[in-house]
Amino acid sequence: MSSRRPAAPGRGAWAVLALVLSFVLALAGCASPGPDPAATASNAPTDIVGARTPDQIKQAGTIRLGVFSDKAPFGYVDSSGNYAGYDIEYGNRIGQDLGVTVQYVPVEAASRVEFLESGKVDVILANFTVTPERAQKVDFANPYMKVSLGAVSPKDAPVTSEDAMAGKKIIVVKGTTADTYLTTKHPDFQVTKFEQYTEATNALADGRGDVWVTDNTEALAYTKQNDKFVTSISSFGSADTIAAAVQKGNAPLRDWLNEELVTLGKEQFFHKAYDKTLKPVYGTEVSPDELVVEGGKA
């Protein structure tokens, strides 16, 4: 077994080691949080930690918005790789009126608060429903949409009331309003939780649950396109609003967003955004005024 000759891999390995070592030193320079804000990746928020005021954002020339990248028609990525949807219309307009470039950061439902708290994004625009628990952790601007819960179930076995859900297999997406509502109001319900919208809808289609509880907008959008399922409860739970959120205490940015909403209200901006992104999905069955909030006044 023992070979006394210095085998080839020995020398090769040392050469590789030397090469790698120099590489480590080179990269250590980039990774260390020195004063030089060298961005290493396209979505690299390496410059400032924490909240930024509108003036600081303007100075930096870029605003970072946390959005969904897999929740059509609110925030998704189209086939050309561009962000699109109702939330994105709003986001683009924010960037335009601030005069800065928009950098979209895809977030998961359950980590939206984290992204704000750690200053990874300036604003969360990810279909974020206003709740008292969330308001303790972040500051909400005024709303731009109304929402309540809805339930989707198979056409041939519809679940038509909240009480009828007892004993049924309920599907929700983790960290959404539906999840919080069912967990606090009905801890005895049998709830299966998924991480992504894609997973929840696929599970529903594969018969892994009897009913899917989600925002009623989402429920309507889904059943509109899917003949096998109906929105068997179109509105329950508390009537909530959806708003942009900023880091706790970032009053300047929140105030700016609220003023912006007033300006946008005058030109009926969100009705236009509705027509562009949501109407193709909802069709004429839903009146835009049931969902859209103009000027920040629900």
Binding site: M1, S2, S3, R4, R5, P6, A7, A8, P9, G10, A13, V16, L17, V20, F23, V24, L27, C30, A31, P33, A39, T40, A41, N43, A44, P45, T46, D47, I48, V49, G50, G66, S69, D70, K71, Y76, V77, D78, S79, S80, G81, V105, P106, V107, E108, S111, E114, F115, E117, S118, G119, K120, Q196, Y197, T198, T201, A205, Q225, N226, V281
Partner: protein, 226 residues
């Protein structure tokens, strides 16, 4: 209307987006692996070294990292490092840091294992032949240890590529996230897309990791002859 969804792969920029996502995964894995090999070799030597303190410390490090699911480390480095220490890393840098921490521990253990698997009598024989410690390391231990190490290292590399799918949770768009975006954006037109898109991702991962494994096998064979 079409229900299969295979054509979705080639619609718009979907395919090139998947490839870009793949490049993100592979880039993170390879960078982390490079660092891990260097740091892990050092760690492995310390683990087999004479210093008791060094051995104890490296053990604690290994056990700690091994036990932490990478997901937890990702959250700690990406979110909590910012909140606690004010160090704001981008998702990708955070991922490289985490995978390097993890890879170093695993590499260290592999290096330790392959060195200590060399039977004690070889050391004795080498010393009896009058070799110095350095000669012993260079001519007896290293050649055998490296040979044992190569397949294990490649094993770790493919594992690392595969684990990168977790970085989607800290906002890095890699191949699996792109897949989910495609499935979701088209869920109305192509409800069956999950099968094809996930199938494609499965296949792409397979090709990449297979090529790497095949390369290592060639290396192994070549070295085995010398």
């Amino acid at each position: 209307m079409p229900t299969s969804g295979i054509e979705l792969l080639f619609e718009g920029r979907n395919f090139s987006r998947l490839m870009l996502g793949l490049w993100v995964s592979v880039r993170i894995a390879l960078l982390s692996m490079l660092f891990s090999i260097v740091l892990g070799t050092g760690l492995g030597l310390v683990m087999n070294g004479r210093s008791r303190v060094g051995r104890a410390l490296s053990r604690v490090y290994l056990e700690f990292i091994r036990i932490m699911p990478p997901l937890v480390l990702l959250f700690l480095v990406y979110f909590d490092l910012t909140k606690v220490a004010g160090i704001n890393l981008s998702g990708e840098v955070a991922a490289v840091v985490v995978f390097t921490l993890w890879g170093t521990a695993e590499m260290g253990d592999l290096v330790r294992g392959s060195i200590s698997s060399i039977p004690a009598h070889q050391y004795d024989s080498a010393r009896a032949l009058g070799m110095t410690e350095l000669e012993l390391q260079r001519h007896v231990v290293l050649p055998q240890a490296v040979r044992r190490l190569v397949p294990l290292t490649v094993n770790l590399t493919t594992r690392m590529i595969k684990t990168t799918s977790l970085v989607a949770l800290i906002g890095v768009v890699e191949i699996l996230k792109v897949a989910q975006q495609i499935i979701d954006a088209n869920r109305f037109e192509y409800p069956g897309a999950a099968l094809w898109i996930y199938g494609a991702v499965f296949f792409i991962y397979f090709i990449v990791c297979f090529v790497i494994s095949a390369f290592s096998r060639r290396l192994e064979r070549k070295w085995a002859l010398s």
